[in-house]
């Protein structure tokens, strides 16, 4: 099948320019009404997330009766200073749960489609690599655990931390040519998933809503605070690490 490449490119270019003009016109229309960026921070739902006064929605005060958040005070909503974390693991937990299901589906899909093949003899890794890798893995794992356990305080959390931990396993695969420990990952996948569901159901039983926070929030900004978020992020971290490791094990096995 012969394709006329320049003509297709030109056609694509014209189409793209046309689209760009249309989008520009739509976004800069001078008519009446709301348009892009017309909501200020005060008018967005995030304003309440930042002030931690979602429970007292509609008022400016949070449960302490103040329109302010003071570090170190006890028992603010979910107790996380990192507001993105608070949104991901608490306010919009169902989205995050869905996100985990997406990763779970992708890992299962890759496992379903990849056929394990007999590979030719790969070149052995050199002695230097073999000596260095365990040390690097140790530090990688520590970094991963650190990122997971500080998700409520600093940028990070279960997803990046899980990815870092998975990278340690990938390193191990590459250096030692070991066949994957797929069974362990499978069991971890299941257990972490069921653990997350259990967290949700305990919340439903104790607080009357799925994924409701039922653990003490601690003082805002302390290292050990926001117990609910720490546990959820730990489970997410295990799950993500297991999924990513099993995806890469499937890719390496192919």
């Amino acid at each position: 099948m012969k394709r006329n490449e320049p003509l297709i490119n030109l056609f694509g270019l014209i189409l793209i320019i046309l689209l760009a003009v249309l989008v520009y016109l739509a976004l800069t229309d001078s008519g009446q009404g709301l348009t892009m960026l017309s909501a200020d921070l005060e008018q967005r739902v995030s304003y309440s997330y930042l002030l931690k006064n979602v429970t007292a929605a509609g008022q400016t005060e949070n449960q302490h009766g103040q329109a302010e958040v003071i570090l170190g005070r006890e028992d603010y909503e979910n107790g996380a200073v990192n507001i993105v974390t608070a949104i991901v693991t608490d306010y919009r937990m169902l989205d995050t749960f869905g996100e985990i299901l997406v990763l779970f589906a992708a890992s299962a899909g890759v496992g379903l489609l990849m056929v394990e093949r007999k590979r030719g003899k790969a070149k052995e890794a050199s002695e230097i690599v073999k000596t260095a890798v365990p040390i690097i893995i140790l530090f990688t794992l520590i970094t991963g655990f650190y990122i997971i356990s500080h998700g409520h305080l600093t940028p990070g959390g279960g997803f990046p931390g899980g990815a870092v931990i998975a990278s340690a396993f990938i390193l191990q695969f590459l250096a030692f040519q070991k066949s994957s420990r797929n069974k362990v990952f499978k069991i971890l996948e299941s257990l972490a998933g069921i653990g997350l569901l259990a967290m949700g159901l305990i919340g439903l039983y104790l607080e009357g809503s799925l994924f409701a926070n039922f653990l003490p929030n601690g003082s805002l900004g302390a290292t050990i605070s926001a117990a609910g978020i720490m546990i959820i992020y730990a489970l997410i971290g295990i799950k993500v690490a297991a999924e990513l490791s099993s995806i890469s094990a499937d890719f390496i096995g192919e």
Partner: protein
């Protein structure tokens, strides 16, 4: 208590248990999954009396909308969840015996597809729709790619035969994920654009909740049109609307019959309901999108009418039985979209009725087609001459399904199309185009299903050649009989007593059309202000 939400968790729990369970036995997923749906259906029925009295907005994490995510339980949504759970159960029962053992991951993905479809039906949050669309998408791509291409579900005898192994070696006949890849690229492109649309809408209003968005002050007309179009793109794709349906043929051809049934019956139903939710509840009587809603509606009507004609035309010309059914799905979904775009009580009720009737009939047809393809060893209906003579019961199922799709009186499709056309005639104007398209499509459907039926019941043919078809008598196993019998009987029952369904659908249509009282009002009252 918000314990209604547990309904989503049955298939998820089954999915989570499968990776570990597969280590014990490869059959784990196949045996566990039906149980999850039995439990889910029982739970649905327990919830039904309470929800029938009063619709409820269920919150997640104790955060009221618009800050948290809410799921909306009403007679419409709970009924549809029950419907797709039933279809899922039937499809899994069929899988128990009729296909060679699939891997555990297949059932995991199947459960996720059903979860995502149920989530799409229930959710009241725009970004949540995006997430559930992605879950459904990824599950479908992988399952389609895992199926055997073209022939799909071949019998063991045939796959061992010389012909098959020859074709498996040649590049054309081998397993090919081409259909899945096309679907993936198109679906990914549109869902990403949807995310852009959601972000634009959020930056204008500051909320993501459908009920809150619909009661916002007016958006600029062109901005509203742009964001709505971006947000609706993946829904157009999933409901197989005209310019976005080039993936349908390849994907359905590659899928196993039971998966094709799931895609059209379960995922299709969910997509159509999201379309109704967005175009009727969010856009319909709202202040925010008033400026753009008329344009979107005309667009939907024209695209719907075009996909009716194109889908049925393609089905008319197709030789591959599964592709015929897939293309007729395009036409039927086009009718549903037309009904939603007309937006009066009759048309919406007709569209919902057609959605249910089409879902059940398509599952019946795909399962029966799978049975035929399996026995005949060929995917082309012309080569199945006389097959139904040897299997009169399966033949009867096929005819019942086909007649329900066509809309022969005394079957469910008839009442659905009647309501739809009545609504379109009341609306007048452009809807006349749709009436003409539906009538023409019905004639086309009649002709091609008649041809297939004739070929199936023709004398002579495949039985005399021996070879592929074993001489010993054909036995139906319970795994095939029970789902198909239930589906066929329900199609007939819905045709004989349409009032039973119509009373339920009237309240459903009322919910979609009067969102102020039946949807937005309920959520706004519970949720806090902004």
């Amino acid at each position: 208590m918000n314990r209604e939400v547990v309904i989503l968790l049955f298939p998820i729990l089954a999915a989570f248990m499968i990776p570990a369970g597969t280590i014990i036995s490869q059959k784990f997923g196949r045996l566990l999954s039906p149980l999850a749906y039995v439990a889910g259906i029982i739970y649905c029925l327990l919830l039904m009396p309470m929800i029938m009295v009063r619709s409820r907005s269920v919150i997640i994490g104790n955060w009221l909308p618009p800050f948290g995510i809410n799921l909306f339980f009403s007679p419409l949504t709970l009924g549809l969840v029950l419907f797709i759970f039933l279809l899922a159960l039937f499809i899994l029962l069929f899988d128990l015996r009729n296909t060679e053992s699939k891997k555990g991951q297949y059932y995991l993905l199947f459960n996720l597809l059903v979860t995502a479809s149920a989530g799409l039906i229930l959710t009241g949050d725009l970004f949540n729709i995006f997430v559930f669309l992605e879950i459904a998408g990824i599950a479908s791509f992988s399952m389609i790619a895992a199926g055997r291409s073209s022939a799909g579900g071949l019998s063991a005898e045939y796959s061992k035969s010389a012909e098959y192994s020859k074709s498996a070696q040649s590049p054309q006949g081998a397993q090919s994920p081409q259909g899945a890849l096309k679907y993936l690229i198109q679906a990914q492109l549109t869902t990403l654009l949807m995310l852009g649309g959601i972000a634009l809408l959020y930056s204008a209003t500051g909320v993501l909740n459908i009920a809150f968005l619909s009661s916002f002050e007016a958006l600029k007309s062109s901005f509203a049109f742009l964001t709505l179009l971006l947000i609706l793109l993946p829904i157009f794709l999933e409901s197989k609307l005209f310019p976005f349906n080039s993936w349908v043929g390849g994907a359905y051809q590659g899928a196993e019959p039971s998966l094709a049934a799931a895609l059209s019956g379960i995922a299709g139903t969910a997509a159509a309901l999201v379309l109704a939710r967005l175009t009727l509840t969010m856009m319909g009587s709202s202040s925010a999108f008033a400026a753009a809603s008329e344009k979107i509606r005309v667009l939907l009507l024209l695209l719907g009418a075009a996909s009716i004609l194109i889908g049925e035309g393609a089905a008319f010309r197709e030789k591959n039985l599964k592709k015929v059914l897939a293309y007729s799905s395009i036409g039927q979904m086009g009718m549903v979209v037309v009904g939603i775009s007309i937006a009066n009580t009759d048309a919406v009720r007709g569209a919902l009725f057609l959605l249910l009737s089409h879902g059940a009939a398509k599952v019946l047809l795909f399962l029966t087609a799978g049975f035929f393809i399996n026995k005949a060893g060929t995917p082309f209906w012309k080569d199945m001459k006389g097959l139904a003579r040897r299997m009169p019961l399966a033949g009867a199922f096929f005819i019942i399904g086909a007649m329900a799709l066509m809309g022969i009186p005394l079957l469910s499709g008839f009442w659905a199309k009647l309501e739809l056309i009545r609504g379109a005639v009341t609306a007048g104007g452009l809807a006349g185009v749709a009436v003409a398209a539906i009538l023409l499509a019905t004639i086309l459907e009649g002709v091609y299903f008649m041809r297939i039926g004739h070929s199936l019941f023709e004398e002579g043919g495949i039985t005399d050649e021996g070879g592929v078809l074993k001489e010993d008598k054909i036995r139906y196993n319970a795994a095939y009989l029970i789902p198909c019998l239930a589906l066929a009987l329900s199609l007939i029952a819905a045709g004989l007593f349409p009032d039973l369904i119509n009373t339920w659908l009237s309240s459903a249509a009322h919910e979609l059309l009067n969102s102020q009282t039946d949807y937005t009002g309920l959520i706004l009252k519970v949720g806090g202000g902004l």
